[in-house]
């Protein structure tokens, strides 16, 4: 391998992990600092250009993250390798993280000297040879999804939009996610070249107290859901007399339907490692842990790799960058339990125990891991801390609201055209996020509600889409910002079913330690089950509300404290749907299976028999006319015929508790 930015430029450089130079990081980009030599400067310039265009002047980037892999990125990678070999192209093939734009997965990014960098969307392996031929040989970019710049060098440039002009990009404020999809997540060199580790370097120059001051001044609040000021947490922990102290990065993202932390950890793991190192330095801890879900193996793999690389170059270990500060990190996996992401539960899970949350106070900052003072921060928070230290408080606080500065990453799923993760200033309206960034609902679908904050959040009606996304406003509307999940609910979804879904998740994940959560959620769930079956009575609604209030106010931890939110918010905004289920025994959205019937439109049936073939209950048979009919006494209302009918002539009708 040739010279990298992380290596010595010449014999005058004295840096090594054993004998570290405090200016090592600045020197990578702006050096040499300790001597003056044009050759050494040239070496850096050349290498930075190589990182951009590859060693051979051309580069192909394939995103390798859970979402792109699921969409087939690995096959695309192999197709690229084959095509490059067959076409004898002089290019480098490299991996990258993900832009968070799930709707373009899997994508490819091609760059070459003298050519605009081009992104190709929804690439199939069979498309690859053609794409490479067009770009590298014919120098034509007309089939690209977007360009990163226009330089008037390739044909077809005018037909393709700039990425920065596309709404879903232009409306974002890329701050913590700026490296996602851009750098190779397994390369420390690329991280440093993108400005990485300047935050830690600056923290060492300021000292621990001033580092905490910076974070305090920025107004950074925890991005894991609770919104506690990070600087205060750090200061309290630093002030504790007990030692040793610990820092923990919480990458456990158990909420169904949220993948903000996963995206960050898979696409830019060094940022998290740097942020945790800064936290450790600020509070005086020498050991850090990153805790993550066992389900997300790639997250653990990328973080472990990042830790190893950082160790190799002396950015973890003894006397980091000559600061006299020793620090190391271990990546620890949960074994699957939503509650193990709760902060006190994380700590006992790391200790190898059952992840039961515990009563606070004492807070982890006083008695945390192994009873010692511990800072536990969400990984997005730590990434912000690293960015604040590198870029300064002003740039961070330039956006956001009066009470909550900076940006937040949101994950928009459900009834939208562009499912993805978007980073926007705190205080951006739900409407901008859902309609402008995520593209609004697909053709012919109308938004009924938006569920904010996933299982701990709540549903708000479409009429309130202009609400800004910040902690206080949302709390006023009865929902919480939570981990950043936004699920868009269409007219085809039933809010009673949505509430029942979140409740069944929370009650299954309740650890059982405290009574209100264990019994209360179960009780709420059984009431909702009854309502969904059309067996509810009006008194149920009052009982539901009362139990919800008790669970919310008396549960031990945030799981129970927030689990009633989906029910309380839907009761508040969608009472009419509950009433329809109870009084009229009718599900207005035609979702709750006990309250609907399936029918086949015999006029339009094309007699293909697909429905009868796929019906697991054998409830569909051919009638004399050759058409198909559903036997209601056998139908289990699974909806499979509805899904598989190629001409969509199976339809649903309201049926008062038939079957």
């Amino acid at each position: 391998m040739s010279w990298t930015l992380l290596d010595k430029c010449c014999e005058k450089c004295t840096h090594s992990p054993e004998n570290p130079c405090p200016d090592y990081i600045e020197c990578r980009l702006f050096g040499p600092l300790c001597h003056d030599d044009e050759r050494c400067r040239e070496l850096r310039r050349q290498r930075l250009e190589e990182l951009r265009y590859g060693e051979k002047g051309a580069k192909i980037k394939v995103p390798m993250t859970s979402c792109t892999l699921a969409a087939g990125a690995e096959a695309v990678y192999h197709a690229v390798e084959d095509a490059v070999k067959k076409m004898d192209l002089e290019t480098t093939i490299t991996i990258s993280g993900c832009y968070g734009l799930d709707f373009i997965d899997p994508w490819l990014e091609l760059s070459a000297k003298g050519m605009p960098t081009a992104i190709y969307a929804n690439v199939k392996p069979s498309d690859v040879p053609h794409i490479l031929e067009e770009y590298f040989v014919k120098r034509n970019v007309s089939k690209a999804f977007a360009l990163k710049e226009k330089i008037g060098a390739a044909s077809g440039e005018d037909e393709v939009p700039l990425l920065s002009e596309l709404r879903f990009w232009a409306k974002q404020y890329k701050w913590v996610s700026r490296n996602c999809g851009v750098v190779n997540p397994e390369s420390l060199e690329e991280y440093v070249a993108s400005g990485g580790y300047r935050g830690l370097s600056r923290a060492f120059k300021l000292g621990p107290e001033a580092t905490i001051e910076e974070v305090l001044k920025s107004g950074l609040r925890g991005r894991g859901g609770a919104g506690f000021p990070t600087g205060i947490k750090w200061r309290i922990t630093r002030q504790q007399a007990a030692t040793p102290k610990y820092v923990v990065a919480n990458a456990h993202e158990g909420d169904p339907g949220v993948f903000v932390n996963r995206l960050l950890a898979e696409s830019d793991p060094f940022r998290i490692v740097e942020g945790l190192t800064i936290a450790g330095y600020a509070i005086g801890a020498n050991q850090g842990y990153i805790f993550t879900d066992a389900e997300k193996l790639l997250v653990a793999k990328r973080l472990r790799k990042a830790v190893e690389e950082a160790r190799r170059y002396g950015l973890l270990g003894k006397n980091i960058l000559g600061s006299d500060f020793d620090f190391d990190i271990e990546v620890v996996l949960s074994s699957g339990a939503y509650v193990s992401g709760e902060e006190t539960a994380v700590l006992v899970a790391i200790e190898g125990k059952v992840a039961w949350p515990s009563q606070r106070p004492p807070y982890p900052s006083e008695k945390g891991l192994w009873g010692k003072p511990t800072v536990i921060n969400n990984v997005e928070t730590l990434a912000h801390a690293a960015m604040i230290m590198a870029e300064g408080v002003e740039k961070f606080a330039a956006v956001g609201t009066e009470r909550t500065k900076g940006t937040k990453m949101f994950c928009v799923t459900g009834a939208v055209k562009r499912v993805g993760v978007y980073e926007v200033p705190v205080g951006t309206s739900i409407r901008v996020l859902v309609e402008e960034l995520a593209g609004g609902p697909p053709q012919g679908v109308r938004i009924k509600a938006v569920h904010v904050g996933d299982s701990s959040g709540g549903c708000i009606p479409a009429s309130l889409l202009d609400l800004p996304l910040d902690y206080e406003t949302l709390q006023g509307a009865g929902v919480i910002l939570g981990s950043g999940g936004i699920a868009v609910i269409s007219e085809e979804n039933c809010v009673v079913d949505v509430a029942r879904y979140f409740l069944s998740f929370s009650s299954a994940e309740s650890c059982g330690k405290c009574v209100p959560c264990r019994v209360g959620l179960h009780l709420m769930r059984s009431i909702l089950d009854r309502i969904a079956k059309g067996e509810g009575v009006e008194e149920d609604l009052e009982v539901l509300r009362q139990v919800a209030e008790v669970v919310r106010s008396t549960s031990l931890c945030a799981l129970g404290g927030a689990a009633p939110n989906p029910v309380l918010s839907t009761l508040r905004y969608f009472m009419d749907e509950y009433i329809a289920h109870i009084r009229e025994k009718r599900c207005p959205a035609l979702v709750c299976s006990a309250l609907i019937k399936y029918r086949i439109d015999e006029e339009k049936c094309i007699e293909c028999g697909q429905c009868a073939m796929d019906c697991p209950a054998h409830a569909i048979s051919k009638i004399e006319s050759g058409k198909y009919r559903i036997d209601e006494s056998l139908c289990i209302k699974c909806g499979i015929c509805y899904t598989v009918c190629p001409v969509k002539v199976v339809y649903k009708v309201s049926g008062a508790r038939a079957g």
Binding site: E253, G257, E295, S335, A349, Y501, D614, C638, I640, T643
Partner: protein
């Protein structure tokens, strides 16, 4: 994870099964994970071995093994079908897919594995690939896995039939 050498049939854990696992209480989760990687589930005796290795009482190891849902105390099928129960997958109909698979395999309430131990159907937590909802992941006996995006009864049935053919061909 690579499977260590040992005799799975005879229930003998390989000597190096716990290599690299901290010999301290906090190594318990990882020790159990190693055992599960070897057997595919946690036989009671193996929980005892893991407990002894990290130095905690059997009762504590057992409580951990029953608390976290990645651990299974019963053998699971050769093909482990994980149906995502995340929000996006729910909104796009994955509960129908679960219902379909359970009916297809004739699984009675409370059972997740077929009589012949070839298939298991489990409801899984979010895979974080919500753009492809509804998502079903099948962990296969060769250690690989198939990822099914935008799953529906038809694609699932075709896949199951393919596995069945492979099973017959392999037997």
């Amino acid at each position: 994870m690579e499977k260590p050498e040992g005799d799975r049939e005879a229930g003998v854990l390989p000597g190096n099964a716990f290599e690299g696992v901290p010999k301290a209480p906090y190594g318990l989760l990882e020790a159990l994970r190693r055992v599960q990687a070897f057997y595919g589930y946690l036989p009671p005796e193996s929980i005892r071995k893991a407990a002894e290795y990290v130095g905690v009482p059997f009762a504590q190891a057992y409580s951990v093994a029953t608390f976290y849902h990645q651990y299974s105390l019963e053998p699971i099928g050769k093909y482990r079908i994980l149906v995502c129960m995340g929000t996006a997958c729910h909104l796009r109909g994955n509960s129908l897919n679960v219902e379909f698979l359970r009916t297809l395999f004739g699984l009675k309430a409370g059972r997740k594995t077929t009589e012949d131990k070839v298939f298991s159907v489990e409801e899984a937590r979010c895979f974080g690939c919500c753009g492809l909802a509804p998502v079903v992941v099948i962990q296969k006996p060769d250690g690989g896995s198939d990822f099914v995006g935008r799953a529906n009864p038809r694609t699932l049935r075709a896949l199951i039939e393919r596995y069945r053919r492979q099973e017959r061909g392999g037997a």
